[in-house]
Amino acid sequence: MSEASPTAAIRAAPVPPGPLNQADFPSSPVVRFGADQALRLDSGRQIENLQIAYQTYGELNSARSNAILICHALTGDQHVASTNPVTGKPGWWDLMVGPGRPIDTDRYYVICSNVVGGCMGTTGPASTNPATDKPYGLDLPVVTVRDMVRAQAMLLDHLGIDTLFSVAGGSLGGMQVLQWAAAYPERVFSALPIASGARHSSQNIAFHEVGRQAVMADPEWRGGKYYLYGTSPRKGLAVARMAAHITYLSDSALHRKFGRNLQDRDRPTFGFDADFQIESYLRHQGATFVDRFDANSYLYVTRAMDYFDLAADHGGRLANAFLGSKTRLCVVSFTSDWLFPTSESKAVVRALNAAGASVSFVEIETDRGHDAFLLDEPELFDAVRGFLTSAGRARGLL
């Protein structure tokens, strides 16, 4: 919760902070692909001189068979298990990934790359367009989850990794995991889609549209060219984040945490200041988010999620996406997640069953909503550890 006045933090800053510097010069290894290795996109367009920023943890074994690719969520990045260079906070999946953690970096070689369209060093709207020497802005072609995964496959080719021992991720990360399993079954030994689904629902698209409209309604957005004016649509992006943040939590968790409690006051002010703790909390979430994320990236990455529909890509039948797949999957959902409810995970499980794939499915009881996949959930850790250990035995790693 915010100690500083949240309204102050939402005020527009004259110079875009950290993220925009990270876009071209990230604090992590990068691969730059030549013009001859353009990333072909679902839209029919392509990105030349693709840059991918990534992080690795642990050691690749001599057989190159112990690599796990982590796919990050909407506002995540490649800094899974090490200090984030922008926020100074621990990596976003620090609880899951590391020495002795469920995704054990003493055993596995963990790779995570920033998604295409992101703002932490992989080519995105804030990156410099080599053709103009200015930030792409909206000149960057719209990307899809398939495009993100195609770029990751290029990174793995570059790293000399033919087959992944596993690919894991939550939310948008889980979509990428499913896309990996569908598009490259022979390159994926096991897969862990968490709090995810094979498509974005109408309600999910609706929430994203609210967020995008908030960004674009901010005059400082300037048609997506705000970089050139040294500004950014901070207010719009903060509102987008506030709305989205509600969808990551559950009603009961919000009520448990905040109830109708007032923020630093004994009675309502009969005004529109943040009287309630929940208001103050959301304003703080919005305010801190704009310091680490690029507004145009928010448009691109939410769009990619909206376009995701694995069944539609396979003749309208989800099972077709996994026919003949040898990949072992472990699907995980959370009881209070209403953004990617258990029914969406069950649809994936049904399809995998219908395709005869090897699938486990765990629904974890929690009231923490969609965000549970990022939090300290012992049952999640046990399931991931158990699944990877058995897959590791089958793979001859353990």
Binding site: V349, N353, V362, E363
Partner: protein
Amino acid sequence: MNAPLASFPASTRVDLLAVAELVAPGSRVLDVGCGDGQLLKLLEETRGVDGRGVEIGQKNVNECVARGLSVIQGDADTDLVDYPDDAFDYVILSQTLQATHRPREVLEQLLRIGRKAIVSFPNFGHWRMRRLLLFTGRMPVTRSLPYSWYDTPNIHFCTIRDFVELCREIGARIEKATALRADGSRLAFNAPMWAWNLLGQQAVFLLSR
């Protein structure tokens, strides 16, 4: 993986052994109501099967996944419809039939999903049950079925005779059957039905369409 059958651990439950013996090595198996995965593990280790499980209890599912089994959380009464026809060589319902809401529909689903179905269940016609009911006038509570009537998960008890009748009604063919006494010994296959129904504490049936 494909250890010889002789390697069944000595402590293995006799009813699980009776089920496992009916499964051909290397086959595809779905265990409906797989509990903590004991039978699936046994089948993988001694029969080299490609095994899957469905289990309603989340703690059990998590335990199974942690043991490396492919198990999904699901309900035998509602989730079997999701599986395609002939998806498995065997679909097993081990000590679960009596806990389903609609045993008849579940049994029909087993025979649709699997080429063969293996069903094991406690026999409510066993002489101990009959004696308890006759002399105490109350619902039997025994060591193997320790629940009171009001908190039991077992809502659809049947006798061996009842089960055979249900098989006839849905047109299931009984290929093999075993009845186990309380001490785990088996009744002769050619023993008369009344003897099975009276002396068998549990029964295991191999069915086909």
